[in-house]
Subunit: 271 residues, 2 copies
């Protein structure tokens, strides 16, 4: 195990950048290789076996960088493909669902937890399962918000349209006495300010991104695989679609230019 | 690996009950065997090699219960003995320092983090090391509070004496623009309300207890060692000193009677 190996992050698009940003903040010495499958985003409305296939392809692609850990920074891909990928690689594979679930269990006082995510994530019941495996008495209120990812992938984080879209999707959740809500899609932290305005200050928003980075830190420490603190890593980003919007969003979110390489998938891989 | 094996928790006294309570809350199916070394508390003013020796003795004692994980729920023992114990057992050993450090790194916005603990913990520099290994730009303000553990071990959580003691110890820390403070001793969550009153609402208090339970959850999941959710565990508690006060504090803190067995150490083990 070479501790200078990178952490591989994959997502359907730009959402995993929220996880990447938190890794950069919490673990500034770790090198990241990131793959955003922008050509095939969103994953949230795709069939499970298609998401598994896409996730496998990206993991295979990133294997050339010999990662010490694979982070499935997409809730839909975590819901459908985490167990499959774990069986096929010999490094730790971290998804974004259990970290959010564990954080919510740690934070809630009322035992009533909200979860928002894509259609695929919510229909999979993965959060409810993860929460109830921890504590069967937890009450879970779930809501699919299929209108959120397209906003983020267009870079539309703060606007009247954003507020109206978020209000329309979440208005009905305000009737429940939840005290925390899991942002069960890595795209949603881009919209966190607006979501917070709509839900009100009494609902703590749990970011899978922040919590996943924290758990990556735990696992790297537990397995003695942390990067050398002398390292100033140079991260690498890849996307399968047009790089222009990815570059704009990454600059805006990460606050710096990134080294981005567009990847052309073979036709056979286009699902 | 039998997932019905218990989690072993050890502390110098009752402080580790804060970790036990959080494990019961976050992981209600996990069985706990707990050892409080009340005959030899406090550890905070003892020499490092003495703390290592005591910790080894307790780990040996708890080995008869075949634990699947060992939790050193004492910051002083974590600072001095974690690496030693890790070398001598073949199950995961979790201390309470890194979980608090990782949580603080996740929460801080100003990058200025307060740490309070026993003399031993603060002088060891273990928190500063853990924080700076994560991010060398973090500014750490540390303060030893040797007057806190005796209050807790007497069951004196809320009183004028408690407020005066906490104010006297922490007053000087209020001059620093820290935005979070690590309760770097597992006894301190018993005093959290008073500490919060003294520090003010702008300082988020990080409980090593809550954060350690969270990390235990992460590691058990990552290693596929979680208890069966059909289980309703019966916890076992041991203490090396008089059981009366331990029983009172445990009842008050955990909200229920516990199965407590006093353990008589051999004279050769009394350090």
């Amino acid at each position: 195990m070479d501790v200078q190996q990178p952490i591989a992050i994959l997502d359907s698009g730009v959402g995993g950048l929220t996880v990447a940003k938190e890794i950069m903040r919490q673990l500034p010495h770790e090198k990241i290789v990131y793959f955003g499958d922008t050509a095939r985003t969103p994953y949230g409305t795709r069939a499970a076996d298609e998401v598994v296939q896409f996730t496998r392809e990206i993991v295979e692609y990133l294997a050339q960088y010999d990662p010490k850990m694979i982070v499935i920074a997409c809730n839909t891909a975590t819901a459908f493909a985490l167990e499959d990928i774990k069986k096929h690689v010999n490094v730790p594979v971290v998804g974004v669902i259990h970290p959010g679930a564990r954080a919510a269990i740690g934070r809630t006082n009322t035992g009533i937890i909200g979860v928002i995510g894509t259609d695929g994530t919510i229909k999979s019941g993965a959060y409810e399962l993860a929460l109830k495996q921890l504590n069967p008495h937890i009450h879970v209120i779930s809501k699919a918000c299929p209108t959120f990812v397209p906003l983020v992938e267009r870079g539309n984080f703060r606007s009247d349209e954003t507020f109206d879209t978020v209000s329309a999707a979440l208005g009905s959740l305000r009737d429940y006495p939840m005290d925390c809500m899991i942002l069960g899609c890595t795209h949603y932290p881009f919209l966190a300010e607006t979501i917070g305005e709509v839900m009100g200050p009494e609902v703590v928003l749990i970011s899978s991104a922040e919590e996943t980075a924290r758990e990556i830190s735990t696992i790297l420490y537990e397995q003695d695989k942390r990067a050398n603190i002398e390292t100033t890593p140079i991260h690498q980003f890849f996307c399968s679609g047009q790089p222009a919007m990815f570059r704009v969003i990454a600059k805006q979110w990460l606050g710096k230019q990134i080294e981005l390489t567009p990847v052309v998938w073979q036709v056979s891989q286009m699902g």
